[in-house]
Symmetry: C2
Subunit: 235 residues, 2 copies
DNA sequence: TAGAATATCTACTCATGAGTATGATCGAGG
DNA sequence: CCTCGATCATACTCATGAGTAGATATTCTA
């Protein structure tokens, strides 16, 4: 019922930032394979995994479905590849930061910034939303392991921060969940609201995480707070 | 390829906390309708919207598909009803808190606590994950409006908090996104990790939001921080 | 107790979409 | 310039799952 192939080749529909390496069939295998992944990621991002058919992806690449299958084994692997493309920068961030001579909070912030940018990237949605429900047990395990690695990495940095004093006392597990959750959620709204760049968003979030809601001087609250508001104590 | 239907009626699979009102056919229309919704929510929560067929839901209720259709118009409406069941407590929280004579931060915290509990509830997943991609334009608009209402409510409380001094200066929009995102994400991991009750989680999160990462006295950091860590400045 | 609702089931239709069998075609090396 | 393998398309198969048509059974009411 909906979009199915656009016969006239350059119909000017999707600007297609990368003009797709399918113009004549030279052997740039790897390039094409990556184009498939990226195109799939974009489609998943826009319409969701289950609402995207491999015909859709093929059409976006101006080829047919068997061609797509020539580059990936099946839809599930395709999602998995998108996931990998999404997490890799995050794992890289951990590696980059691992040996820096900085207090743990600074290292954590750096990781979180990269994390946020990754989530706002093309592959962010796939990474964040790759659910075990849609995957075979094997893939599910694999993905879960990678996610867990990241989670543990964050917790470790939090613990280190509590030790070196750069992070206040807190529950590492819950705090890690809160931080990662806030960042993961970017994938849900960034599509609609691109008023900031990924880097700006990541920076803004880190600022929020840093300070929390409480004003710097706790005294100030007591002075100015309870004066206004209509009455009626509910219930 | 994976799990599909359990033929033997009471195979003792899901304990079914509520023993389903289908025992003889008295007219408890509304009760049954709600049972359908709740059962659907549980199924969506466990296997995802797209991996749950109406046959599955019917089987869980020990009836057949047409019976389910007797109570809901279609799958989409079913998801929508689950969504409504999920958001309603949150909207109620805003109403409850609206006229309290408390600093805005306290009111915000109360809302966030209810929010967190709602997300960890049976309907949390449906509420959080009801995507416009899976819904008709009309429903999508409706859901988006409700989500926006909540978002705006949080932003307003943040702004009020900045005015009455109970909340430190920040960007209300980004802060609201961060808070809501962290809470929304609970729906993703609470299924697997139920080591805490929803109330405990909500409380823990609010604590994190309150203080942020920075230690209470900023001075302490400078003293203890930069002493340890192996070398190698990456890149 | 005879309809009239109300509630549920059996047995379909129909569209979609993943995945494939098989054959055409292109481009490069001999 | 001819063959062989790498690419790609046509034209399928097949399972699944949403939604429905048309009984049938049960309860309520007059």
């Amino acid at each position: 019922m909906n979009s199915r192939r656009a016969s006239p080749p350059p119909a000017g529909k999707s600007p297609a930032a990368s003009p797709s390496p399918w113009r004549g069939r030279r052997r740039d295998r790897e390039v094409k394979r990556e184009a498939v992944i990226r195109t799939a990621a974009r489609a998943f991002n826009r319409k969701g995994y289950h609402n995207t058919s491999l015909d859709d992806i093929a059409a976006a690449l101006e080829v047919t479905k068997p061609t797509v299958y020539y580059y990936v084994t099946n839809k599930e692997h395709l999602l998995f590849q998108c996931f990998l493309a999404g997490v890799e920068p995050i794992r890289a961030a951990f590696r980059e930061v691992r040996d820096l001579e900085l207090p743990a909070r600074a290292r954590l912030n750096a990781v979180l910034r990269h994390y946020g940018e990754a989530v706002a990237s093309e592959f962010g949605w796939c990474m964040v939303r790759a659910e075990d429900q849609d995957l075979s047990p094997a893939m599910s395990r694999h993905i879960k392991a990678l996610k867990s690695e990241i989670d543990q990495g964050i917790r470790r940095l939090i613990r280190e921060g509590m030790q070196d004093g750069s992070i206040g006392p807190c529950d590492p597990k819950m705090t890690a969940f809160a931080l990662a959750g806030a960042l993961n959620w970017i994938a849900h709204w960034y599509r609609e609201d691109q008023s900031l760049t990924p880097a700006e968003i990541a920076a803004a979030f880190v600022t929020v995480f840093e300070g929390g809601l409480r004003p710097r001087s706790a005294a100030e609250v007591a002075i100015r707070a309870p004066l206004r508001r209509r009455v009626r104590i509910t219930r």
